[in-house]
Amino acid sequence: MARFTPHTEADIREMLDTIGVDSLDDLFADVSPGFEGRLDLEPPRSEYEALWSAQKVAQKNATGMPIFLGAGAYDRIVPAAVGAITSRGEFMTSYTPYQPEVSQGVLQSIFEFQSIISELTGLEISNASVYDGATAVAEAALMTARQTRREPVVAVSAGLNARYREVIESYRVELVELPFKNGTTDFSNVPADVSGVFVQSPNYFGIVEDVAAASEAAHAAGALAVAVCDPISLAVLESPGALGADVAVGEAQPLGMNLSFGGPYAGYMATKKEYVRQLPGRIAGKTVDLEGETSYVLTLRGREQDIRRARANSNICTNQALTALAATVYAALMGPEGLREVAELSISKAHYLAGRLQEEGFRLRYPEAPFLWEFAVELPDVRRANAALLEAGIVGGLDLGDGAMLVAVTEKRTREELDTFVEVVKNAD
């Protein structure tokens, strides 16, 4: 019998009798076409053997080194307390809180997540999270179309993470290109018929963009302004809400999630109260129970697929409750000062590294543009530099393919690592 099924032979016999069939095969009498073979899978491994072999497979990955890759996923500190909470069985093994009376833990934690996102973005309403930053961006694109009742066409620039752009397109939204010059986007000529205008800040190249200008341009065109923001940056940068954005979305991974080869992360989405009906995904709301006690419940369900079916505002069903909980615990541990310090440490270290590289004669791709913790540096041979870095036990930056390397520096990088980076890159030439 299988690994996690409790029945004994006697149990099975008794149950088959109750059902009124003779054999397990009889339970599948209606299944046609039946599969008569045996699944061609490796024989069952015991837990110990499975985990031992998983360890061996994992050792084929290069980990345990300082990482200078970013571009949407950041090697940030994950406090030990985060995993201690998210591994609590009650959080980990529950599902969408359809029965609020026995799901207050998950519901309140979602409410807290929403609150944190609202505070960071300066917008009134956040949802319970979506799959990741890229799908949050794509859902926001669709949202602009629903709200404006326009065709889904959004204005973007090269400053928007190329991967996000691709997902928007996969979601059958048209992109209109805005000019991108000296590291920032020119919002002065937004076409009149777009449903949304997107601004990512810091953008793909780490540079702070003009969210206010984007918002104004969007509104002038009758479109919605969507800001795409790294949540850590919002500890130091003005909130998109305050700068006029209608929607803020982004990747919550920097808030306490492991890199985990790209997922699971969580996308966040926040908007103005007036647009809440077009916001996809779950929302937890505050209410009271029969006895007047404060409690929480999924609300505005009428927007969702399980109620509204073909007319739902999205097909999205699950959120990323557990990774959103990680973000919540992370934000609580850090607090406003801690988040700010994470940002400032990263900024200081990134500027130190950029300065050292410039001293060594390397040119930044956008030397005049204000950046936070990520920057593009031009190198004679990015591949060779990365190979040399790997040799020195360092995971180098992203090869932009055009003679520049996109380098991300987080609070985890030490001065020693930064100095080594410079030395290696210098000598790689």
Partner: protein
Amino acid sequence: MLIKDRGRAGRRGYRLPEFDVERVGLEDVIPERHLRREKPDLPEVDEPAVIRHYTNLSRKNWGIDTNFYPLGSCTMKHNPRANEEAAKIPGFATLHPLQPEEQVQGALEVMHDLQGYLSEISGLPAVSLQPAAGAHGELTSILMVARYFEEVGDESRTTVLVPSTAHGTNPATATMAGFKAKEIGLDERGCVEVEELRAAVDETTAALMITNPNTLGVYEQNIEEISEILHDAGAFLYMDGANVNAIMGRMRPAEAGVDVMHFNLHKTFSTPHGGGGPGCGAIACSEALAPFRPDPVVEKAGDAYRLARPEKSIGRIMGFHGNFGVMVRAWNYIRMHGPELKDVTDMAVLNANYVRARIREKYRIPYDTLCKHEFTAQPPKGKRALDIAKGLIDRGFHPPTIYFPLVVKEAMLIEPTETEPKETLDAFVDALLELAEADPGELEEAPERAFTRRLDETRAARQLVARW
């Protein structure tokens, strides 16, 4: 009490490393107009408070770890702790998604293996692991269908058919992918009405989205005929794989003519539901649709694995490669089972039929036939599914899914899963039978032993408060 209310200005829950480079003044590197003026109102709490707050919050929640949780269509099976260990291995957990392929061969091996396992289970030759959830897998599949017809230049395909029993995600997906969703009714067995389908299928049909076994828990016995109808019309058969736990090793969708389907790794392959996610909605498809899979998939070339963009890919549907941590868990689960996945299915179906057979005495079973891993019941006359559900809570059981599928009034969709012992099923049935006799007035008071009483849900919507 909210975490914020446990705070005081100036408290800190985490100490960061000291500055080891010169501290850069923000105003020196960022134009002032970009800088934040008002501090976000976040909790200012210490680590002890964080741990206590969230530990106690968790204690106001049930999960599979604490209670029987027969939530129909959600496959709330036991989450083996080995899966968690596997996902935590630093070689997996700390890998950056953009590390070059030669640095991530182990991760790609996991993905390649898993693609192969899902292929074997479905009988379909091609797999994409990228979708983050079932609904996302549906969307991916239907986008692939759409792209296929674009590719072949067939502009007439504007409709996706959806049986009336379908999950709400199916019609919503169809709409989202740019199709009109059209509903198909049921026959007396609870299966897709074949003649209605036959009449509905025409040159505008892009696909039928079928769930098999369907959300009534009934196996779609005409699936081969159905696939023929669609294929004859040049349309595709998509299968919603929410219920794969009912068929592993007992049937392979490809052999029934399914062209594309999704899996819920968090249902069938035991990765935790996490209070609503993360999941993984991997898809499998035929050779015809394989070129349209999202970017990237994992290929093996010689001894090396690599990420590749399928030739006519619909493009990227996630920021990186999907929910890798979920894949690791499912991979580990399948490796602990191998061909015994068939036993998993057998026991899941046994458990559902056993509960069905026992509650039949007092509950109506609208389609009372052999069910698969779940079945739909109705409360005795005069009782509401909602009240039965809340009464179950007072007896220590998480309620089944209620008011779904929509085609059954007062529906209760019950899915015990294979990891529950007979004693638990018996206790659950006893509670249901007792509730069938309970005084309706009393039941309306339930739950009385939960973490709250019934909630004012109207107020939550009318006076929306979604943040502190």
